[in-house]
């Protein structure tokens, strides 16, 4: 489904990471701050351009040459919800759906399902600029899912939220990944978040390189580096 090798020079390090992911699977990119996790996601999404390497999603070549952002069938969530402040919550959620498709029954049903599952009904007509941070994360999640992407990229989308909300959002994402069938790459520096979101496997990055790849159990049992051992150790 996804085959990529990202090479990107940073001021202090060169990121060189390969990821392969089958349809419907998920992988967590784990590591300390500054290890290059977000760079990998930004390069797959097209927010940044790799210096070298390749990105292929479902036989569609994202890079090289760089495929325009609007042609990439992906969802990308970051710490910033990135809602459009001049639009209402419902307009934000329908934003990515072409106007001629919005009135189709299947789309209307899908949007209503997202609205109910993510408890957005009370906010539906509120201006996006006036909702709370937690609500904004829910709206951006709904907006991303509205397009039914085949690949979802999550760059610490739960940072700064309380544990209860994080748990709810993770459960929602896992639920949707199964029902929609999208693949998922998540980045976080908190192992417990990634374990819950991507329970199958993780890739550990240090200084822009992969130092270990495997199940969470393998990582805990035989961590490849002292840094990884300390990151996985309980507080």
């Amino acid at each position: 489904m996804l085959k990529t090798r990202i090479i990107k020079k940073r001021r202090e390090l060169t990121v060189d990471v390969s990821v392969e992911l089958a349809q419907g699977n998920s992988v967590g990119l784990f590591g300390a701050s500054g290890a290059g996790k977000s760079t990998v996601l930004a390069c797959i999404a097209g927010i940044e351009e790799p210096d070298d390497g390749y990105v292929e999603v479902k036989n569609l070549r994202f890079f090289p040459p760089s495929l325009p952002l609007y042609m990439r069938p992906i969802g990308y969530l970051t710490q910033e919800p990135g809602l459009f402040p001049h639009l209402s919550v419902s307009e934000n959620i329908s934003f990515g759906i072409p106007k001629n498709q919005r009135s189709r029954k299947e789309h209307v049903d899908w949007i209503m399902t997202l609205r109910d599952r993510l408890q957005l009904a009370p906010l539906w007509n509120a201006p996006a600029a006036l909702i709370s941070g937690g609500q904004a994360r829910r709206v951006s999640l709904a907006r991303m899912l509205a397009r039914r992407p085949s690949l979802v990229l999550l760059d610490e989308p739960f940072a700064g939220l309380d544990r209860r909300l994080v748990r709810e959002l993770i459960d929602d994402l896992v639920f949707w990944s199964r029902s929609v069938g999208f693949s998922m790459i998540a980045v976080d520096h908190q192992a417990e978040v990634l374990k819950r979101l991507c329970p199958q496997q993780a890739i550990v990055l240090e200084q822009g390189r992969t130092v270990q790849q495997g199940t969470w159990e393998e990582l805990s049992r035989t961590p490849a580096t002292p840094l990884l051992a300390s990151l996985l150790a309980p507080l």
């Binding site: 999404a45 097209g46 927010i47 325009p68 952002l69 609007y70 990439r72 992906i74 969802g75 990308y76 970051t78 910033e80 990135g82 459009f84 402040p85 001049h86 934003f95 990515g96 072409p98 907006r143 397009r147």
Partner: protein, 257 residues
């Protein structure tokens, strides 16, 4: 202590306002009765029509051409952007009279473009076309420089998010960039409007006819003296001020929404 500081700040602001508006006290100067007979009224009303309609047309062209140019400049590399900014500053920096002389030489009957257009019956001096073209040259720099700042203030990440949601660059511009920058664009337009409608130095050289309000002020002063200038001054403020004022009112409302 806090009260006295507040009082001092208010007094300072009031003093500034008095100094700023002081020249307008001359409207009440003893210059005799204001002249508003048919000899003055006709040309004055005609100059209002000329100024409002032709400046309005010039602004429409400035927005239609200047907005895409500003969008292009926003995406330029820093070095190219500096070049563009220098280019836009030139007509702003030039004394208006000098700009008018240059435009007459370049677009007049002895210039390549002017003589070519004249063959098709388009006069580039003392005509409505000359008036509009001059207004465009006078206002374009103000609008584009302001528009670049307004478009630049729209977060890049929001535009990229919109693209990742499947919108082509043109749709991103129309549905995200433009709505979020519209206030800045409107303020830039109001500055261009104020600059163009009050333009005298360049217009008096390129388009003495048809006379707009600033040229008519000069004509009235020369022909009838101060009593014929004052009514036009009041009319000028009444018709030129509402547009930029309205934009600032809207800006204030949006800020407090």
């Amino acid at each position: 202590m806090i009260v006295s500081r507040k009082w001092m700040a208010r007094s300072g602001a009031a003093l500034f306002a008095v100094a700023l508006l002081y020249p307008f006290t001359a409207l009440f100067a003893h210059i005799g009765p204001w002249q508003w007979d048919s000899e003055v009224r006709g040309p004055v009303l005609s100059s209002i029509r000329v100024s409002l309609s032709l400046t309005g047309l010039a602004m429409a062209i400035i927005v239609a051409v200047g907005t895409p140019v500003a969008a292009y400049i926003v995406h330029c590399r820093p070095r190219e952007r500096l070049l563009w900014q220098a280019m836009l500053l030139i007509p702003i920096l030039l004394p208006p009279l000098a700009l008018g002389i240059l435009m007459t030489l370049a677009f007049g009957p002895y210039g390549a473009i002017g003589s070519a257009l004249e063959r098709y019956g388009i006069a580039m001096t003392n005509s409505a076309t000359a008036f509009v073209v001059t207004q465009i040259y006078v206002g374009m720099g103000y609008y584009v420089l302001g528009a670049v700042a307004a478009l630049d203030a729209v977060p890049v990440m929001l535009q990229k998010q919109a693209a990742l949601l499947g919108l082509t660059p043109m749709r991103v511009f129309l549905r995200v960039t433009l709505p979020l920058a519209k206030l800045g664009l409107a303020v830039s337009l109001s500055i261009a409007w104020v600059r163009a409608i009050g333009e005298f130095g360049a217009v008096v050289v390129t388009a003495y006819y048809p006379s707009g309000m600033p040229v008519q002020l000069w004509v009235n002063l020369q022909s009838f003296g101060l009593p014929a200038v004052m009514p036009l001054l009041v009319v000028f403020l009444a018709v030129a001020l509402p547009l930029p004022w309205l934009i600032h009112v809207l800006a204030q409302r949006q800020r407090h929404a």
